[in-house]
Symmetry: C2
């Protein structure tokens, strides 16, 4: 059923100031080189990413469509038109994997509804890397995106997630705007049980990568500075 249609490739981008060699398999880079049509979250960073993959000489031939919070449903239908005509597209989001804590799911859903083949490429995901390296339970886990910002709602949410974690032996994973890292960290160590293990995964794949798991009791005795550094938070009660 897919033979005459294009393929929608999902392309993970760099999390940090790293080289493509460090994060993408050779075969993935080769396949990206064959594409001339991209749906991207931000054209400037997508161009920079393709240059890093060695595609500078093709940039003039490349067509970029922008997918961001201003994109409307009718734009999506327009974007998938080339796929219907047999032209393959690459979807690149800002950092990490399209569709996972990043936009892209809507366009993938439309592709499925049109019986268009969707191929995910292997690459870095801060959620997956942090879970692997946390030492917490990877047999059962949940990612919740952002917690509420306001203190009473946030504390209630942390308590609820901790209860569920204890009941189901589930690792709870979430993120925060980096300038609010310390505030969330303080709320976590003030709210969670002293025996709950909390992992901070900071600057994943970057030069200054730090992945540290300690009990909340031990975190209370530790000074950590990660203001404005991208971080993933994980805990297991």
């Amino acid at each position: 059923m897919h033979t005459t249609k294009g393929i929608l490739y999902l392309i993970p981008s760099l999390l940090d100031d790293t080289t493509a060699d460090q994060i993408l398999p050779v075969e993935v880079i080769k396949k990206i080189h064959l594409l001339r049509n991209f749906i991207v979250e931000n054209e400037r960073t997508a161009r920079r990413f393709l240059i890093r993959l060695g595609m500078k000489e093709y940039l003039d031939e490349i067509n970029f469509e922008i997918l961001d919070k201003h994109t409307r449903l009718e734009d999506f239908s327009q974007m998938v038109e080339p796929l219907k005509k047999g032209v393959s597209l690459g979807l690149i989001t800002e950092a990490g994997c399209p569709g996972v804590a990043d936009p892209g799911a809507e366009i993938v859903a439309i592709a499925h509804s049109l019986n268009i083949r969707v191929v995910p490429f292997i690459g870095p995901s801060s959620i997956l890397l942090s879970l692997m390296a946390s030492g917490l339970n990877g047999q059962c886990f949940a990612f919740h995106g952002y917690l509420p910002v306001k203190p009473p709602a946030r504390v209630r949410r942390i308590r609820l997630l901790e209860e569920q974690s204890r009941r189901e032996h589930m690792t709870q994973i979430f993120i925060e705007a980096p300038y609010r890292n310390h505030q969330l960290f303080q709320d976590l160590i003030a709210t969670l049980h002293p025996n709950t293990r909390l992992c901070l995964a900071i600057n994943l794949t970057g030069q200054e990568e730090r992945i540290i798991t300690k009990s909340v009791a031990d975190w209370k005795k530790t000074r950590i500075e990660f203001h404005k550094q991208p971080a993933v938070f994980l805990f297991l009660a």
Copy 2:
């Protein structure tokens, strides 16, 4: 604090009969080449994996420790001894990423308790790849491992997960022993609401990769054959 100790590297292995070039970044392969001590789930497949990475000539110098369901807590302490002495170790599980729907979390937890640095390598995860390509919600999702096998408990669990999915807009992800795929698929389409979207991600990264998302109503009209093929199941109510 890490300077004199070894590093515990978490090494994703191949999901399918693919080449290392297709799934691991060049820099990751280079770093694996420098290691001579591995903790592995199965020595035979670990050897085959290292041969594929071009390490055949070093196999005689390599030390393998086995980590499986027979490994006891005192064995773990033994395994991390080289790390304390400044020797780095690579942890390789059977298919996919150590510690994520695979063993490894205990040894990583011990490493953290000893202030040993843990570095996760980028590679394929069937959970992450299937979520990216499902078109379902990647802002909020949970992985549950295996559902209960017995029909009444299983159906109750599916209902519970569907309620939670609707309430929290959460993608539910789980796996099954491949010889029971069809049975689980039948239970899912018989139990879930017709509008719930169900994704089957079959043979990820393999030659016969298929990732298909349809409403349960549409799945009821579709014949699909994936007996004994590794699959991830995802749904969003």
